[in-house]
């Protein structure tokens, strides 16, 4: 049974919302398309591409429609959260419900995911044109898009988890798309297993939440797990380590998000995931899937925030902040010393995800989500630009073998530069500046400690530095490659242009003068007011961040931009501080640490299990088999000697007996006579005896 309910602000009125009722189509259509493509044969490229792009376009249209609906309602000051719930199954008296939700958060994310996704689909038409597994690619892409959209609209933690796992699966399939390469297969496995570690904690949190509140629905007319009643109940429970149940569950769910979004201990899979095709890196590992973790934290934010006094914070949010800030700095440091164009971007992504998480912890949903939206656009742009570069340089990915591409690939250069400046947070013009500043501002006003602020500022410096390094190596200087490079076709450069446009323009919705995004998410009215800049300390902060950005850009230009190193020459910084460079280039040895501890432990377990299997269980099986064979042999012996032997013996005895008996037939008369006489005597004796008795 379906119920379309309104919740959140009592002034809401019931609207027979067409958008809400058909929201489920948004993820369903791409998933169905994926299923159909799976049945197609490989040569049917046009059909598969049409299906994929068509389905995602439909999803985009529906998302825009839903977004427009939400915006209209918001503009009329009707803050709405529309929910459609239904019972999936029940056991005993407990129901397991699923449902979807349409609120500002979901609407914004829907548009971002479907829009960026559609652009990347179109880009893939050009990028994967020479690949023979074209249809399989679009099948997986479509499945991914559907699953990600499912994560966005889920109103039930269970439905979210289901789509979450689907997203993880498609990520695995797409990273390992060129599975014949052992590096790709290994990277896919690593991604899946590392996110699995996070997912275990996620599942634990989910189960705990269900057992405490009795429901996994987020919003259910006051009975949902994120609504006031459930939250007070969770706060009342204490879970040890000074945490309430709400905080503990929040942290467990954050662990799942940390896996998917590459936060510090579980970040190791993201750089290796660059083994997949570049559109995959753009879509999944820049704009959408890794953002799913951030989105999850935003979704269950009431849980994280429960119990916070006004202006204060909870343990869960503090942990999230620290993890996010550490990740931001850690990944930025490593990005400085990488030489693969995509790896630099991968570490940059990890760093920016750290920013987003820190933003959520420091300033709330709007702050983190704004950075997520802007980052989605310019990171996708950067990855696709990198893909264009790789394509143009004939599958070369080492930046030391590129150079001087600003002339050969002008469109790519311009769009890439826009993306790079947005990422660095170049002041005022680019969206990255406004979104990052939002986070910095929240960090500055954080009540717990000031250290995250300094870390994030340092991270911004590093970001500008390594991006300048990358751009100098790739686009400036002399061409260091072997063959000549060429510009990419329009089907690839057009999406770049569109994304570049948004990388600039999106900043407008998050400025302090017109905080439309924040107001939209929080259900307040927004108005354009220049006095927004008059907040104390805001201008100083803007000046600080501008300074930091220019410092980073300047440093980068000074060390790398002005010179044009030869291909084999060592990096300038490497010559200066070789030991630091080596540590950074080797990714601060996190992978090696894991390999020695966790992997070694598991390898040991695997050996034990193998030994058990072969020796003990195998021994048991072999023993049973041996026993059976022995039994069979025994049976055989029994059969041969007892049964056959007995039977043969019996027949022999019978035959002998017959032979013996035939000796009575001597053929001589007197023998017969004797027997007759004997018989008569016997009979007479019996007769006499019986008559006497």
């Amino acid at each position: 049974m379906q119920e379309i309910t309104q919740s959140f602000i009592p002034a809401a009125q019931y609207s027979a919302s067409f958008a809400a009722a058909f929201l489920w189509l948004i993820p369903a259509v791409p998933i169905v398309a994926s299923g159909v493509i799976a049945l197609l044969k490989q040569p049917k490229r046009k059909t598969s591409a049409t299906l994929a792009i068509g389905s995602l376009s439909l999803s985009l249209l529906l998302s825009l429609f839903a977004f427009a609906h939400v915006v209209t309602d918001w503009s009329r000051s009707i803050a709405t959260r529309e929910v459609v719930n239904f019972t999936w199954f029940q056991f005993g008296t407990t129901n397991v419900d699923l449902g979807w939700v349409l609120d500002p958060l979901a609407a914004v994310m829907l548009v971002m995911v479907s829009f960026v996704g559609l652009l990347i689909f179109i880009y893939s038409l050009g990028y994967m044109a020479h690949d023979e597994n074209f249809t399989r690619f679009f099948c997986f892409l479509s499945l991914f898009a559907g699953a990600m959209l499912g994560v966005v609209i889920a109103n039930s933690l269970l439905l979210l988890f289901i789509c979450w796992e689907l997203v993880g699966l498609t990520s695995y399939l797409l990273i390992g798309f060129w599975y014949q390469r052992p590096a790709a297969a290994a990277a896919a496995k690593k991604a899946f297993l590392t996110t699995r570690v996070g997912d275990v904690f996620f599942l634990l949190g989910m189960v705990w939440l269900f057992s405490q509140t009795g429901t996994l629905l987020f919003y259910n007319n006051g009975a949902g797990s994120l609504e006031a009643g459930a939250l007070t109940g969770l706060l009342a429970q204490h879970a040890g380590l000074g945490l309430t149940a709400a905080g503990a569950i929040g942290l467990l769910i954050f662990a799942g998000a940390a896996g998917k979004s590459g936060q510090l201990p579980l970040h190791v899979w993201l750089p290796d995931a660059m083994e997949g095709p570049t559109p995959v890196s753009a879509l999944i590992h820049a704009a959408t899937m890794v953002a799913a973790g951030v989105y999850l934290v935003a979704r269950v934010y009431p849980l994280m925030q429960a119990g916070a006094l006004t202006g204060g914070t909870t343990t869960a949010l503090t942990v999230i902040t620290w993890v996010g800030a550490s990740t931001a700095v850690f990944a930025a440091l490593i990005a400085v010393a990488q030489n693969d164009i995509k790896r630099i971007l991968a570490y940059s992504t990890i760093s920016q995800l750290g920013y987003m998480m820190a933003g959520l912890g420091l300033g709330g949903v709007a702050v983190g989500m704004f950075h997520l939206i802007t980052h989605g656009f310019f990171k996708a742009l950067l990855f696709m630009g990198a893909g264009s570069v790789i394509h143009g340089c004939r599958d070369e990915q080492d930046i030391r073998k590129m150079g001087g591409l600003w002339a050969k690939m002008p469109l790519t250069f311009v769009t890439y530069a826009i993306g790079m400046l947005a990422l660095c947070g170049f002041p005022l013009v680019f969206s990255g500046f406004w979104s990052k500043d939002g986070i910095l501002e929240a960090a500055q006003h954080w009540s717990v400690a000031k250290t995250p602020f300094y870390m994030l500022v340092f991270g911004a410096l590093l970001t500008a530095f390594y991006m300048t390094r990358q751009v100098s190596y790739v686009f400036f200087g002399r061409w260091r490659g072997e063959k000549a490079a060429h510009e990419s076709p329009a089907v690839m450069t057009l999406p770049l242009a569109i994304l570049a446009f948004f990388a600039v323009v999106l900043g407008a919705i998050g400025t302090p003068a017109w905080p439309w995004f924040r107001a939209f998410l929080e259900g307040r009215a927004a108005s354009f007011d220049m006095h927004g800049f008059a907040e104390p300390g805001l201008l100083a902060l803007m000046a600080t961040s501008t300074l930091v950005v220019f410092l980073g850009l300047g440093l980068g230009w000074w060390i790398y931009g002005s010179k044009s190193p030869r291909a084999e020459e060592k990096d300038a910084l490497e010559k200066a501080v070789p030991w630091a460079w080596a540590a950074l280039r080797d990714r601060l040895y996190v992978d090696e640490f894991y390999s020695v501890t966790v992997i070694a432990f598991y390898a040991w377990w695997a050996r034990v299990a193998d030994w058990l299997d072969r020796r003990v269980w195998g021994g048991v099986v072999a023993g049973v088999a041996w026993a059976f064979r022995g039994w069979a042999q025994l049976n055989r012996l029994l059969d041969i000697h007892a049964v056959d032997g007995g039977f043969d013996k019996g027949c022999e005895e019978l035959s002998n007996g017959g032979g013996l008996l035939s000796r009575v037939q001597t053929g001589r008369v007197q023998t017969y006579l004797r027997i007759l006489a004997l018989a008569v005597v016997a009979l007479v004796a019996i007769l006499i005896w019986s008559s006497r008795a």
């Binding site: 001597t666 053929g667 001589r668 008369v669 007197q670 006579l673």
Partner: protein, 103 residues
């Protein structure tokens, strides 16, 4: 011992002797001789019983004996004829040697 018992015993002994002869001698004719003796012993039995029976005028025993004698004669004739015939075929009257019916 009554006279009857005496005659009966004699008849029994005669019978036994005849049986012994029939069962132990090799020659076929001697077997027939034994059989004749057995028949005669039976006749003696009948006559003895007739003599000491309560109604001898019924002549049952005497008739029996007379008929027995007649049949014995016929049987002797046929039997000896058979022996002669066998002798013609097997050139011997040794009963141990005649075992064509051996099974």
């Amino acid at each position: 011992m009554t006279p009857l018992a005496g005659y009966l015993l004699v008849a029994a002994l005669l019978f036994a002797i005849g049986l012994a002869g029939a069962l132990t001698r090799r020659n076929a004719i001697l077997v027939l001789i034994g059989i004749e003796l057995m028949l005669n012993a039976a006749n003696l039995n009948f006559i003895a019983f007739w003599r000491y029976s309560p109604h001898p005028e019924a002549l049952t025993g005497m008739m029996f004996a007379i008929f027995s004698i007649a049949v014995a004669a016929a049987e002797a004739a046929v039997g000896l004829g058979l022996v002669i015939s066998i002798h013609r075929h097997a050139h011997t009257t040794d009963l141990d040697a005649i075992n064509r019916m051996k099974g």
